[in-house]
């Protein structure tokens, strides 16, 4: 019987022939990703009593949550992390301004096919887009990986999600994954490895694949993955000199569930307050007034996202009572957007262009709302208070939908603007 992607990669990492779902294995991750929480993790690490990080070369630390520091507390936190990095000789350290950890990690060549990546952030599954097994872990576990260089993992069951059909104009990977989450529910893929496959997925850019894997966390998945192919290899060219070996699911692998979606008739989707699986077609909420529109984050903060936004906004002004926040996911994305004239178009349209980082997504810094206000966002979470105000509302959608809505000041169907 064939093995799923999760089985194959965990077997290989554990030095075993094969493994079964539910089995516990001890493995050495290829990368450990941490961010602004590194200081807290380091604290636990020190409490374990170990002085030196076991394998400093696997640590990737990116300061992204509140950048540049917005309070003395954050500034002190960053300072502590820098000291820890120096003390431990960690070279893969990306200071404030580089970008969001889930964008920086692959850009700098740390997310490779066949890799096992763990991160102290729930959106670590993003890196499954590169054919890696990427999973989020808690702070204590992260501290233990720092101390020992290894981790135990339970082999997850796997779903295979096959996406086919003709993707309509104005409908994107974000809409597809929102639709899937709406269908399966927020815990529908609880602790599963979700393999995204099918012709529509194969057609997707790397950026769009990242959207799928990033949002896999919102259906409870432990990991999400897209099989690496020529597109993956091409994207990675020049980013790494490390050796890697692709791991592919066997064609006769046994899945707990195989689910097919035909997207030919799919409309743009919106996740309504206050859960990600509260998904409806955009037509059902079109006309809802918005105070703020936000395009960015590790979910949708890439060049292709800003390209479509700029296409819609070029030569126009956003609605007078709506604020538009633009947050490139990394310095690289920002530079590319600048080179293409996208930033100029967005600023002219009235957008506020923020420096790369997590910004508004988690309510610690930029773009916090007043009670009763509404934001339409390209992020991955819309829980009550997520953006810093418990009495405000967050709807989630694709960059095209958010751009169109910024123009009208109400939730708008992007298909009418393309």
């Amino acid at each position: 019987m064939g093995q799923t992607f999760a089985q194959k990669i965990l077997a290989r990492k554990a030095g075993l022939e094969e493994v079964e779902p539910g089995q516990i294995v001890t493995v050495q991750p290829d990368k450990l990703l941490t961010h602004d929480n590194t200081a807290a993790i380091a604290k636990i690490f020190r409490e374990i009593g170990v002085e030196r990080v076991a394998r400093p070369e696997i640590n990737v630390i990116v300061l992204d949550h509140v950048v540049p520091a917005a309070t003395e507390g954050h500034a002190t936190n960053h300072q502590q992390i820098r000291r820890f990095v120096e003390e431990q000789g960690i070279t893969n350290f990306y200071d404030v301004g580089e970008g969001i950890c889930h964008q920086v990690l692959p850009e700098k060549g740390h997310a490779l096919p066949g890799y096992l990546i763990v991160g102290s952030d729930s959106h670590t599954p993003t890196h499954g887009a590169f054919g890696a097994f990427a999973a989020g872990i808690g702070r204590t576990e992260a501290a233990s990986v720092m101390a020992t260089g290894e981790i135990w993992l339970m082999v997850p069951h796997s779903f295979r999600v096959v996406v086919k059909g003709g993707l309509p104009k104005g409908v994107y990977s974000k809409d597809i994954v929102l639709h899937i989450i709406g269908d399966l529910g927020a815990d529908g893929a609880d602790y599963r490895s979700v393999e995204f496959a099918g012709p529509v997925v194969e057609e997707m850019s790397i950026a769009s694949r990242m959207v799928l894997c990033n949002m896999a966390a919102e259906m409870g998945a432990k990991a999400g993955v897209v099989e690496p192919d020529e597109k993956t290899r091409s994207w990675l060219t020049g980013r790494t000199s490390a050796d890697f070996q692709e791991v592919l699911a066997d064609p006769d692998a046994a899945y707990e569930r195989v689910i097919e979606y035909d997207v030919t008739e799919l409309a743009p989707q919106v996740a309504q307050p206050h859960t990600v699986d509260n998904v409806v077609p955009i037509t059902e909420v079109a006309g809802t007034r918005i105070d703020q529109a936000f395009i960015g984050t590790c979910t949708n903060g890439r060049l292709e996202d800003f390209r479509v936004a700029a296409r819609i906004l070029r030569g126009r002004r956003i609605a007078p009572n709506t604020r538009l926040l633009i947050l490139p996911a990394s310095r690289e994305v920002l530079l590319d957007a600048l080179a293409e004239g996208i930033i100029a178009d967005l600023v002219t349209a009235g957008a506020v262009v923020l420096n790369p980082g997590c910004g508004p997504c988690l309510g610690a810094h930029q773009g916090v709302m007043a009670p009763g206000e509404v934001t339409l966002s390209t992020a991955n979470r819309n829980f009550k208070g997520r953006m810093g105000c418990k009495e405000a509302e967050i709807y989630l959608a694709s960059p095209a939908a958010v751009a169109a809505s910024a123009l009208t000041g109400e939730i708008a169907d992007p298909r009418e603007f393309l």
Binding site: V66, A69, A70, G97, R323, V347, T348, V352, V368
Partner: protein, 418 residues
């Protein structure tokens, strides 16, 4: 009786009286401005004192959201909203929201600041508009609320000190160094509450950006206002923005000055204000080598295109990379400046160098937005205040011009530009 100084002329014109130094007069306001800091307090005070009573003239009121753009906490989001709602209720058209930039600069760009005008605002650096001959002044909540109600306020007419510069100097010395030089030479017990009139070739040859720099630190000299007579080129620029011909207000030949001072700036070298006061000025070479953690290029003092351009040129000329341990934050003053900087490729220079370019506004200068420092951090800023702890408890700040700031960012220590 002798002739009048500039301030005497402006206050006479606006009060209908023969206003002389030492008098108290009630003068009519041309514009009463609030920011998102101070603004909500004014709105509350106005409504507490006057309820629904219409403001004296909605066309002469403006709001500029630059203190925390976009909002970082619910409190500020609420404050901004309260201001917007007041504007709608009272028919105030001039609301420059979180995407506009530093208030005084925005008003200037929109042709709302004329030579000889009387403008009040909830910011102590309103008086930088003296750079174009406007009597603009920072005021507290009560004054502005009363101003909104009646359109007039009481003023004590300041005495005037005539300050004449002579001598020539070269890049890398700049308007900021001339300003710091002046700060170091004057006795603030003499300049307190004075109107300062600046003359001489070194001032006449300053561009608008340079004049804004000099005028912006009159508050740090304890002065009420600092006037620089606009030349024809600047008058034409203002006229273009305002849509009408404008003239400078000149003092009478026989105006009576409290004192007259002369300063020779021949061979002016780059200067730096050391912790903890803006007048603790030394030559850069005396403190060169001091290690820094953060550098800020921006503010109402040095946030114009010219300032960013100088910084970018120095950065590039010195290798184009920020020192690894330094955080460089660059903030354009307004949308217009941001666009110019984007189009001139300055954003690319800064970002490739490893800097963070944030959205237009007051940025670092008003603590609590971003770029906050940790204990022990050292900042070099192109702003105008460096009082102890202002930007983070236990931190220290130096003030310098953009060229010195850029050089410092490259070297990681206080440095002269090469």
């Amino acid at each position: 009786m002798s002739g009048k100084t500039i301030i005497e002329k402006i206050l006479s014109e606006h009060s209908g009286e023969d206003a002389r130094a030492g008098d108290r007069v009630w003068a009519d306001l041309d514009l009463a401005v609030v920011r998102d800091f101070g603004g909500p307090n004014v709105v509350l005070e106005y409504e507490k004192q006057l309820g629904d009573k219409p403001v004296w003239d909605p066309q002469k009121i403006a709001m500029t959201f630059d203190y925390q753009a976009p909002a970082k906490v619910v409190l500020v989001a609420n404050n901004q909203r309260a201001c917007r709602q007041f504007a709608v209720k009272h028919g105030v058209p001039h609301v420059f929201d979180v995407n506009a930039g530093v208030g005084q600069h925005v008003l200037l760009e929109h042709g709302m600041v004329l030579p000889g005008s009387l403008i009040i605002g909830t910011d102590s650096h309103m008086n930088l508009l003296g750079a174009v001959g406007s009597f603009s002044t920072g005021m507290g909540t009560t004054d502005v609320a009363a101003g909104w109600a009646t359109g007039r306020l009481w003023f004590r007419v300041p005495e005037t000190i005539k300050i004449t510069f002579k001598g020539e100097y070269d890049h890398p010395a700049s308007a900021k160094d001339l300003t710091l030089f002046l700060l170091s030479k004057i006795d603030t017990s003499k300049t307190i509450y004075k109107s300062l009139e600046f003359y001489g070739q070194p001032v006449d040859s300053l561009s608008l950006a340079g004049r804004l720099t000099l005028a912006s630190m009159v508050t740090e000299m304890e002065g009420k206002i600092g006037f620089i007579t606009p030349n024809q080129s600047i008058l034409d620029w203002i006229g273009g923005r305002a849509g009408r011909n404008v003239e400078a207000v000149l003092p009478d030949q026989d105006a009576s000055y409290w004192d007259e001072w002369e300063f020779d700036v021949s061979g002016l070298e780059p200067l730096i204000a050391c912790p903890d006061r803006p007048d603790n000025v030394k030559p850069v070479r005396e403190v060169a080598g001091t290690s820094v953690d953060e550098v800020f290029i921006g503010s109402c003092t040095n946030g114009r295109f010219e300032d960013l351009k100088v910084a970018a040129e120095v950065l590039q000329g010195m290798g184009g990379k920020v020192a690894p341990h330094v955080r460089l934050v660059v903030t354009p003053a307004t949308t217009e400046v941001a666009m110019e900087a984007v189009e001139a490729g300055l954003y690319e220079t800064f970002i490739k160098a490893g800097a963070m370019v944030t959205n237009q506004g007051c940025s670092l200068c008003t603590i609590g937005h971003h770029g906050v420092l940790a204990e022990g951090d050292v900042l070099v800023s192109t702003g105008n205040r460096n009082f102890r702890g202002k930007l983070g408890k236990g931190s220290q700040a130096y003030l310098a011009g953009p060229a010195v700031a850029a050089a410092t960012a490259v070297k990681g220590e206080i440095s002269l530009p090469e």
